[in-house]
């Protein structure tokens, strides 16, 4: 617990919260621009379309955001060359857990704030009815797991490489992969496709009327496997990060 507290102490004045909320601000700006002036048929299926839009936004931006978060948490140790010293004061595993937990707390708050802001925006736009709490909670949980897998992957890379350019470029590449996976499929077994796989809403575009029809997805076997894969990635990246970090010399 003390190690976790110290992690939060370390990121004081490092603008980690500010940079995360700035990213949320960009998402809000994008959402505001893409969802403004909804038509009647858009208001009818507004809550479903919101879940879909958030998947696209997050799928594209979260790999990069998670790489920024992990880099900010890890690079302080590289800069101060403090790994060896810290390991003499507590176990390596507890230090790794503290960093992972610190990022998880930030991620939880970030996603909860995002959900709250966009739900309020949905009410402001006048979406019909209320958001279905079952779907919204499930969507939150699945997105959290997908983002956590990305965060743990990035934390592993950021702690391994002293040169933070490498993990950040991998994060950017992940965003690019996620974007193009969206073009070709609605699920993926790659860690960067987790947000897409876990989307609860699908979309059909009617060419004749130019109306978009949203629907709750029925997962096929392959899609279910892709969702399960998210949790496997979480475990793999956690175990790999812990092992790598505890065995690291300096």
């Amino acid at each position: 617990m003390k190690t976790l507290q110290l992690e939060f102490y370390k990121i004081r004045r490092r603008n980690v919260w500010l940079s995360m909320f700035a990213m949320l601000g960009i998402q809000i700006l994008w959402g505001q621009w893409s969802m403004r002036n909804p038509k009647d048929w858009e208001l009818e299926s507004g809550w479903m379309s919101l879940l879909y839009s958030l998947t696209v936004l997050d799928g594209l931006m979260m790999p990069t955001i998670m790489s920024l978060l992990a880099s900010r948490l890890a690079d302080i140790e590289h800069k101060g060359n403090t790994y060896k010293q810290l390991k003499t004061l507590r176990s390596a595993a507890s230090l790794y857990h503290a960093k992972a937990l610190c990022g998880t707390v930030i991620l939880t708050v970030l996603l909860a704030s995002q959900a709250a802001v966009f739900i309020l925006y949905g009410y402001y736009l006048g979406y019909e009815g209320n958001p279905d709490p079952r779907y919204y909670l499930l969507a939150y949980g699945l997105k959290f797991a997908s983002c956590l897998s990305l965060f743990l992957l990035q934390l592993l890379l950021s702690m391994y490489f002293a040169n933070q350019m490498i993990p950040l470029v991998i994060g950017l590449g992940g965003s690019m992969v996620a974007l193009f996976v969206m073009f070709v499929s609605n699920y993926s077994f790659l860690p960067w496709g987790g947000i897409l796989s876990s989307s609860l809403v699908g979309m059909d575009w009617d060419q004749t009327s130019s109306i978009i029809i949203y629907f709750y997805r029925d997962y096929s076997k392959a899609e279910t496997a892709a969702v399960i894969c998210i949790f496997i990635w979480v475990f793999v990246f956690y175990a790999a990060g812990r092992r790598l970090f505890t065995r690291r010399e300096a």
Partner: protein, 241 residues
């Protein structure tokens, strides 16, 4: 050897054996692969040959990935200065302050130009791979030159930000946000006044008629580059890094 030549050489030595060029090589490759794939899958709708292929290659690269990539490179250029007490060594080097800045700007601009040339080389190769037999449109040269100029603007802005903020990741976050904001600004018609949009405008990304107000674009680029140079050199002269 002039002071500027000395700083350019020094920057080159700092970048020796760095893997930074791999990012400029790899990310456009992913973009070109998927852009071409998307073009091939939708060739029924996308019938404007080279122009249609360009829409698929340029859209996300220009608004999202290239600003972030340039931002990463600029952060990397200042990374060494931000570690330990290197600012002291940097600012007491026996060369004028403007040469210190222009040494970095030169490397940034060089990489931006090479990166852009790589994007266009991939575009040509992918076009041939897709079986486009018509000659490459002459307008491509203008897209390249204007894109290059827009890229230099992003490079100038990011160099200034990376110099100011002593963090590697935050300027990259700003570049990502700036690039996405660029899409918003361009769609609202304010792109010519926003530095991160200038690259995409120059490259004609998401621009169906492929025309731009050239005078306004050029003056916008020149103004932003000048502002960034002045601010950066002024900041270096104040010796605060």
């Amino acid at each position: 050897m002039t002071a500027l030549q000395k700083t350019i050489t020094a920057e080159r030595i700092k970048l020796r054996r760095s893997p930074v060029w791999l990012a400029f090589f790899g990310l456009p490759l992913i973009s070109a692969f998927f852009g071409t794939n998307n073009y091939r899958m939708n060739q029924g709708i996308l019938q404007n040959e080279w122009f249609s292929l360009w829409t698929q290659h340029s859209l996300f690269l220009c608004f999202f990935f290239m600003p972030a990539l340039i931002g990463t490179y600029c952060s990397y250029l200042w990374r060494l200065e931000h570690s330990r007490t290197n600012w002291n060594a940097f600012l007491t080097a026996p060369v004028p302050h403007f040469a210190l800045y222009f040494g970095k700007l030169f490397q940034g601009v060089l990489m931006t130009i090479l990166g852009n040339a790589w994007v266009f080389s991939l575009y040509y190769v992918c076009g041939k791979f897709c079986g486009l037999n018509s000659p490459l449109p002459k307008a491509v040269l203008s897209w390249f030159l204007c894109g290059m100029l827009g890229g230099i603007v992003v490079c100038g802005v990011q160099l200034t930000i990376s110099m100011w903020i002593r963090s590697f990741a935050i300027p990259i976050g700003i570049a990502v946000a700036g690039g996405i904001g660029g899409m918003f600004m361009t769609n609202n018609g304010w792109g010519l006044y926003y530095p991160y949009s200038l690259y995409a405008i120059g490259m004609r990304a998401n621009n169906p008629n492929m025309e731009i107000p050239l005078g306004q674009f050029l003056s916008g680029c020149v103004v932003y580059i000048l502002i960034c140079c002045i601010i950066s050199v002024w900041k270096l002269k104040r010796g605060e890094g």
